[in-house]
């Protein structure tokens, strides 16, 4: 994933306001130097081994494999990263770069809150000031993450413009950056945005694929037949896919948010539906969910981290080339897959990650036992307790919240 002018086929680029031109020139400079410096990657890998939990395990999900009676199912455990998701990989990498750049403040957008928590954690560790922009709707959905970000010393600013979700948080972060670029780095959370972000984020996330390739060959004796990953902006998917891109026989499957179903229009499937079209927004060219005038549509998903109008230009190129196949999973399919995984394996995937499980479950039964599939479990689901408990309409949880509310009310 290395490209000089930031284009992948016809996708990508850097559509940035002039005021950021110098900032991007500097960022590209530092990034290019870091990329050519083996000591930088070593420092990164050491940090991830001692501060996070790398290498994360590859778990053989034998109960699920038996349940479906087809392919051997393996799960790449990004949930075991510090802060509970793959987001930490990118964030710690960018943090090391910020140290090299000598900046003292980081800002980030967040959807699910996972990237925000990871950034706040990195900022606390490295001693940076930190501001997180989060759509007001996501603040409501992901309250526990807001709590942690604040406790970790970050300022969380709810974004009330536009659809009040991830894309609006990205706009808000850019507006901060154009004001404070001298001492501030924008730690973008996914493989989207202007060059060099897609390439840089994909590079940090490639650690997932490097490990998974080695692990599957050791544990299964050969590469998998298929690899599944959920796709919000595309960073966890690119992370694991990069371990297998050079093996044409390995089928790579990206799973987008089908929301209430593709025909309902309430989804976030930019590539798996027919609703996406080429556009330029948020600094890059990709397939967007937009209307005929080029106005971005509102998207929907039970998983805040997948609820986004655009997708990594690198993935759009791989999709156009036919190298990555795209599918979508609906909100209700996601809940069912999550339940099955909890009950059979004692593992709680994030709602985002559960999308990848859905597609693997649809296909595993038709495959042969001497084939393996890897599901990239991008994060853990216990952070989603409010959303998940709500989606399961769990009565005892509801009662607990009601009681807690009364208790707080009485204390006031």
């Amino acid at each position: 994933m290395k490209n000089l002018n930031g284009y992948y086929g016809q996708w990508g680029g850097a559509f940035i306001p002039e005021v950021l031109h110098e900032t991007f020139r500097q960022l590209k400079d530092f990034y290019d130097k870091a990329r050519q410096d083996p000591a930088f990657w070593q420092e990164y890998a050491d940090l991830m081994a001692t501060y996070s939990c790398r290498p994360t395990p590859l778990t053989a999900a034998d109960n699920l494999s038996r349940h479906f009676g087809g392919a051997r199912i393996f799960i790449k455990r990004e949930d075991l990263n510090h802060t509970g998701a793959h987001k930490a990989n990118n964030v710690m990498g960018q943090g090391l770069l910020v140290k090299r750049m000598g900046k003292g403040r980081v800002i980030a957008e967040t959807g699910a809150g996972q990237h925000g928590v990871a950034t706040a954690t990195m900022a606390a560790k490295f001693g940076f000031k930190c501001t997180i922009y989060m759509g007001e709707e996501d603040v409501m959905r992901q309250r526990p993450n807001v709590f942690w970000m604040e406790k970790l010393g970050a300022e969380v600013i709810p974004v009330t413009t536009g659809s009040k979700t991830l894309k609006d948080a990205i706009n808000a972060a850019f507006r901060d950056w154009v004001t404070n670029m001298d001492n501030t780095h924008y730690c973008l959370g996914t493989a989207c945005g202007p060059h060099p972000f897609p390439e840089m984020v994909a590079w940090f996330q490639s650690i997932i694929g490097l490990e998974a390739r080695e692990q599957i060959e050791r544990q299964f004796g050969k590469p998998p037949a298929r690899v599944y990953a959920c796709v919000g902006g595309g960073s966890n998917a690119l992370g694991i896919f990069q371990g297998f891109l050079d093996l044409p026989a390995v089928e790579l499957v990206g799973v987008e948010a089908g929301g209430e179903g593709l025909e309902s229009g309430r989804h976030a499937a930019r590539l798996a539906s027919r609703d996406g079209s080429p556009g330029v927004a948020q600094g890059y060219k990709t397939m967007f969910l937009q209307d005929d005038d080029g106005q971005m549509r509102t998207t929907h998903s039970v998983a805040a981290g997948l609820d986004y109008v655009g997708v990594s230009p690198i993935l759009t190129d791989l999709w156009e080339q036919g190298r990555v196949r795209f599918a979508s999973a609906t909100d209700s399919e996601v809940m069912a897959a999550l339940e099955l995984t909890m009950l059979n394996e004692g593992i709680i995937p994030a709602l985002e990650s559960s999308h990848a499980f859905v597609q693997a479950f649809k296909e595993a039964g038709d495959m042969s036992p001497d084939e393996a599939v890897i599901i990239n479990m991008s994060g853990r689901g216990d952070k989603d307790i409010f959303t998940i408990a709500n989606a399961f309409k769990d009565p005892s949880w509801q009662q607990f919240i009601i009681n807690k509310g009364k208790e707080y009310e009485a204390e006031r």
Partner: protein
């Protein structure tokens, strides 16, 4: 006549020219019409009409809200183009489109340029399109005689300014400071050095915008810039006092 020549001519008998900004469809096309009439009657020299976009990345709160409300009210691109045609037919001053690149990209760049020309528009300001990404845009604006107005920022190096000027047409839009539209700018030593650098980098007229909101601001640009750009302030004024307040406000700026 070329836009840059027309501006130079107009500048010959005025201390400084005024360019104002409106967001199309906010609060309504009816109000836009009245505001523009007031602006023109009180001597505004150029008007940039912003076609609303759902992701106005370089704008501040006042203009973001105007973009958003206009779209919520159902403003479509075609409404903007039709309205623009009415304005260029009614008023003799040059009108420009300001918008984000996706609006042009989605319509088709050549088709958009052709349509803008038919509409009587003289040029475009597209803040998220650097020349490096704008080969087609630069080609078709040239072909259709539209000015691809380029932007200088305080962070632009002298070398970069010359590169931008090379690609540009009409005039140069100098962003007065870092940040987004709508907050105050201070005209200090650093600002003066910046404007001197802008001047040294191009023969084109210089417009200065971002945070220009009153007579003092405009006066402090006399002798430095050719055009003062009033952006968010008239939107605020219309929000608070209605379209009728725009005329006296404009009249009081010079």
């Amino acid at each position: 006549m070329k836009l840059s020549d027309e501006i130079a001519q107009a500048a010959a008998d005025k201390d400084i020219l005024l360019m104002t900004h409106i967001v199309l469809g906010y609060p309504s096309f009816e109000t836009n019409k009245e505001v523009i009439a007031q602006m023109v009657a009180n001597g505004v020299d150029l008007i940039e009409m912003q076609i609303p976009f759902s992701e106005p990345m370089a704008d501040g709160p006042v203009i973001i809200k105007a973009n958003q409300d206009s779209l919520l009210d159902g403003t479509r691109l075609n409404d903007c183009l039709n309205f623009a045609r009415q304005m260029t037919e009614t008023h003799a001053i040059p009108f420009l489109f300001m918008t984000y690149y996706n609006i042009l990209f989605k319509y088709g760049i050549e088709s958009f340029c052709r349509r803008a020309l038919e509409t009587g528009i003289r040029g475009f300001i597209v803040p998220d399109l650097p020349p490096e990404e704008g080969a087609d845009y630069l080609k078709y604006t040239r072909q259709y005689g539209l000015a691809p107005i380029q932007i200088f920022a305080p962070t632009s190096t002298p070398e970069r300014m010359r590169f931008l000027a090379e690609a540009g047409g009409g005039f140069i839009y100098c962003v007065a400071r870092r940040g987004v539209t709508g907050t105050q700018t201070t005209f200090d030593e650093e600002f003066n050095n910046y404007i001197a650098q802008c001047r040294a980098s191009t023969d084109m007229p210089l417009a200065v915008g971002f945070g220009i909101s009153n007579r003092d601001d405009v006066q402090s640009l006399v002798g430095k810039a050719d055009i003062a750009v009033i952006g968010s302030e008239t939107i605020r004024l219309v929000d608070r006092q209605g379209a009728a307040a725009v005329g006296p406000f404009i009249a009081g700026l010079r």
